[in-house]
């Protein structure tokens, strides 16, 4: 069972047998609007929930094709586990601000956004956690765009206007445990805003809100922009996405230089073309079993 499917089923359950999500933005909006009272984990109730349109996401390349879902969900499950452990672990495992996870990459196009969305969906399946996905890639707000929230109130607006409540900008989705903060209206001083002190405070606040909330920041590439280092100071964990057979080694090493001072940098290899099927089956089987045993009620 795929992450998305699980998430969607949960959403459906939440909607109590509501209509199937309809492809297309307008339909999604309409659908969302028709049920304003949909229960939400923590997003502002005033915003209509975002309907995750699987087909559209797949078409945009942000969700794996159906055939690959099972495999990828297993792989993401494996990745999320240490991240969660660091964020809300017990004792020494717990990192300061560990729940603030910055997703970075050396270069654009390495699959940062893809990883952010899929990881968010994977974490969202966890019963004990909710996830806030923040589109901090202000230069290229891919998530905001795909959700049809480009130009809507978002992160930049909150940063720009101290009066504005961040909760008002956070959008719920049809998955109760997943909410989304769009990039906001773009402006010339976008990078400066991201690097500002207020950004740090905002991040801090987002985390403090709920001890069981994990915040994922989708950020611009490390070498191209200067925003990420600012965010780096707040984030408790940095996950650098490396595209297999594409990211040149020196480029990645350069990018990692900028993260040198960060205590918790980890990597994930994306778009690996190695067919390590044996490893997959071995781990996948084990994971699946443990998953079932630990979380039987979710089924």
């Amino acid at each position: 069972m795929s992450v998305v499917e699980k998430a969607l089923r949960k959403a459906r359950e939440a909607k109590q047998g509501g209509a199937e999500p309809v492809a297309g933005e307008a339909a999604a909006q309409a659908d969302a609007n028709s049920r304003p009272s949909a229960p939400h984990a923590f997003a502002g109730a005033q915003s209509p929930p975002i309907v995750l349109d699987r087909a559209a996401l797949r078409a945009a390349g942000l969700l794996p094709p159906v055939a690959e879902e099972r495999r990828l969900s297993s792989q993401y499950r494996k990745i999320k586990r240490p991240l969660i452990a660091n964020a809300i672990g017990r004792g020494a495992d717990r990192l300061p601000n560990g729940y603030l996870i910055m997703l970075a990459s050396a270069m654009p196009g390495e699959g940062k956004t893809f990883t952010a969305l899929n990881l968010a969906l994977s974490i969202a399946t966890e019963k004990d956690f909710s996830v806030l996905l923040v589109d901090a890639d202000v230069a290229k707000p891919q998530l905001s765009r795909i959700f049809g929230l480009e130009g809507e109130q978002g992160l930049l607006d909150v940063l720009r206007d101290p009066q504005l409540d961040v909760d008002s900008a956070i959008r719920p989705t049809d998955i109760p445990t997943l909410s989304f903060l769009p990039a906001g209206k773009s402006s010339a001083d976008a990078t400066e805003l991201l690097a500002s002190k207020r950004m740090e405070e905002l991040a801090q606040r987002l985390g403090e809100r709920d001890s069981h909330r994990i915040v994922l920041f989708d950020t611009p590439p490390l070498i191209q922009t200067t925003e990420s280092p600012a965010l780096m100071h707040v984030a408790g964990q940095v996950l650098v996405v490396v595209r297999a057979e594409s990211t040149p080694q020196p480029v990645l090493l350069d990018a990692l230089e900028t993260l040198q001072e960060h205590p918790a940098v980890s990597l994930v290899l994306n778009q690996s073309m190695r067919s390590d099927t044996a490893a997959y089956y071995y781990y996948g089987y084990g994971e699946e079993r443990s998953d079932r045993s630990t979380a039987p009620p979710s089924e």
């Binding site: 990828l72 090493l253 990597l267 690996s272 190695r274």
Partner: protein, 532 residues
């Protein structure tokens, strides 16, 4: 402990392959550029044809036994070595080069030298020579870009080879024969002069020369001893005659004596007795036989003679001539007659011996007179004879050797070294070099390899991450996991078509290579126009 490292190695290798795969297009482009260049290069190499000839050489023939002890039988391997040296020697090769037109372009000495050196390099003479065998199979091989010329060269070499082996020997024996003939002529002259000298000497010193009876001194000695012997014989004979004459006289006295003393004639009595005996015998015979019986007739004849003799005796006695009667009876006596004969013969013997003695005495005197000159002549003669004999022996020996040499030479020409050309100069129509098919294939493989090498270099210059393990190793940071490529269907099909294109491009090069390989002969003929 071992398994993980082995697995790691395997993984590293697979990672490397993945890394190379990234640069598949540059690699293929390199291969596509390189392979045609190499192929063109391969077709620029001129063809080399190889021609060869095989010769069977056998020294063991029926004649070889006959010529065993003769000088011409030389060991096979040295013989062949000599020929090989001669064949590959400068002058010989120069001749070959001139005859086959190889020297046409070479004007300077250095160029000619180079042509000859090249020729020598390309000629190969091999023979399976067994150390003690008299048989060998030789192969003469030569390589040249021009097939006809390669045949010519081998043909030339083969001829030289055969002639060299035969001709060398012939020349040698001809030399020997010439030498022998010259020697024989010289010795012949010497022989005839010494012969003449000896003959003249003999003529001059006839009689003084030792004949069958030996030399001068032995001659003298024998003559003297013969003289002594003759003298002894003479005295013996004289004594014998004296005895005989004595006996003859005694016989006369004995027969005369009784005649004087008595009246009775013993001779007559004797005759009477004989008559009586004959009469008695006749009577006895007549009792059995008639008168015509031969015995009776013979007896009557005898009786008649006896009666006649008795009558003559009686008549002589009556005349009183007792001597005559005795004489009559004496002459009739055989003993007396024999003595008389012996006496007479003795006289003749003595006379001949005396003649001999005088002859010998004369000879000895003559020899004695020559005693001062004889030894000198003898010595001279001995020397001349010795000279003559020595010359003669030498001359005979030389004649014998010449004969043998002639025989040996005949043996050589009739096949002491027998040649049989097993393979006349032949050359394949297909060139032996370059191995174009192999080279074309090699060029193809090399091109791919170079492409791979380029990919490898690029991959070294632009390293990426292919595996989780490698990522962790390079960065030194924890890697939480890897996410597989999530292929969208259209991207997958794009990738698939790209891969298909790639494979086609690769296969295209391979097929092109194989096509060139198959059609190489035709392609070369297009190129060949330049070289021929």
């Amino acid at each position: 402990m071992n398994a993980p490292s082995l697995q790691n190695t395997l993984e590293d290798f697979l990672d490397l392959l993945r890394g190379l795969w990234r640069f598949r297009w540059p690699a293929l482009i390199v291969a596509w550029c390189l392979a045609p260049l190499l192929w063109i290069g391969i077709f620029m190499i001129p063809n080399t044809y190889e021609s060869y000839a095989k010769v069977f050489v056998d020294t063991r023939t029926a004649l070889s036994e006959a010529t065993e002890g003769l000088s011409i039988a030389s060991p096979m391997d040295s013989e062949i070595e000599r020929v090989r040296d001669a064949l590959l020697g400068g002058p010989e090769l120069r001749k070959v080069a001139n005859d086959t037109g190889l020297m046409a372009g070479a004007l300077t000495g250095a160029q000619q030298q180079a042509v000859i050196a090249n020729l020598r390099k390309n000629i190969d003479i091999t023979g399976n020579l067994e150390p003690r065998s008299t048989m060998a199979l030789f192969t003469i091989t030569y390589r040249d870009p021009n097939r006809t010329r390669s045949l010519q060269v081998v043909d030339h070499l083969l001829n030289t080879f055969v002639e060299g082996t035969l001709g060398g020997k012939q020349q040698g024996s001809e030399e020997a024969e010439k030498f022998l003939t010259r020697q024989i002529a010289a010795y012949g002259e010497r022989l005839s002069t010494s012969e003449q000298r000896l003959a003249a000497f003999k003529k001059q010193n006839v009689g003084l020369l030792p004949g069958e009876q030996g030399d001068y001194f032995s001659h003298l000695q024998t003559s003297m001893s013969d003289l002594t012997k003759d003298k002894e014989r003479l005295s013996l004979e004289l004594r014998k005659r004296a005895v005989l004459s004595q006996q003859l006289h005694a016989g006369q006295q004995f027969t005369a004596g009784p005649g004087d003393s008595g009246t009775q004639n013993p001779a007559a009595l004797d005759t009477e007795g004989q008559i009586a005996q004959a009469q008695q015998k006749l009577n006895q015979l007549l009792l059995k036989f008639t008168n015509k019986y031969p015995d009776v007739m013979a007896l009557r004849q005898t009786l008649k003679q006896l009666k006649a003799r008795e009558a003559a005796q009686i008549a002589a006695a009556k005349r009183g001539d007792l001597g005559a009667a005795a004489q009559l009876s004496l002459t009739a006596n055989p003993v007396y007659q024999k003595l008389q004969e012996q006496y007479d013969a003795e006289g003749v013997t003595i006379a001949s011996i005396q003649q001999e003695i005088s002859d010998r005495e004369q000879e000895i005197a003559k020899l004695r007179s020559m005693i001062s000159t004889a030894p000198e002549v003898q010595a001279q003669y001995a020397k001349l004879t010795r000279d003559y004999n020595v010359t003669r022996t030498q001359y005979d020996a030389l004649l014998g050797r010449l004969d043998r040499a002639r025989l040996g030479q005949q043996a050589a020409t009739t096949g002491v070294v027998k040649f049989q050309v097993i393979d006349p100069p032949t050359a394949e129509f297909a060139p032996v070099a370059p191995r174009r098919a192999l080279l074309i294939l090699g060029a193809l493989i090399l091109s791919f390899a170079v492409g791979g090498g380029v990919a490898y270099l690029m991959q070294l210059l632009r390293p990426v991450f292919v595996s989780q393990r490698q990522l962790g190793a390079v960065t030194g940071l924890p890697v939480l996991g890897s996410v597989s490529m999530a292929w969208l269907d259209e991207r997958r099909s794009v990738l698939r078509s790209e891969r298909r294109r790639y494979l086609w491009a690769m296969a295209g090069l391979a097929v092109l290579g194989l096509g060139i390989l198959v059609l190489q002969a035709h392609i070369y003929s297009l190129f060949g126009g330049v070289h021929a």
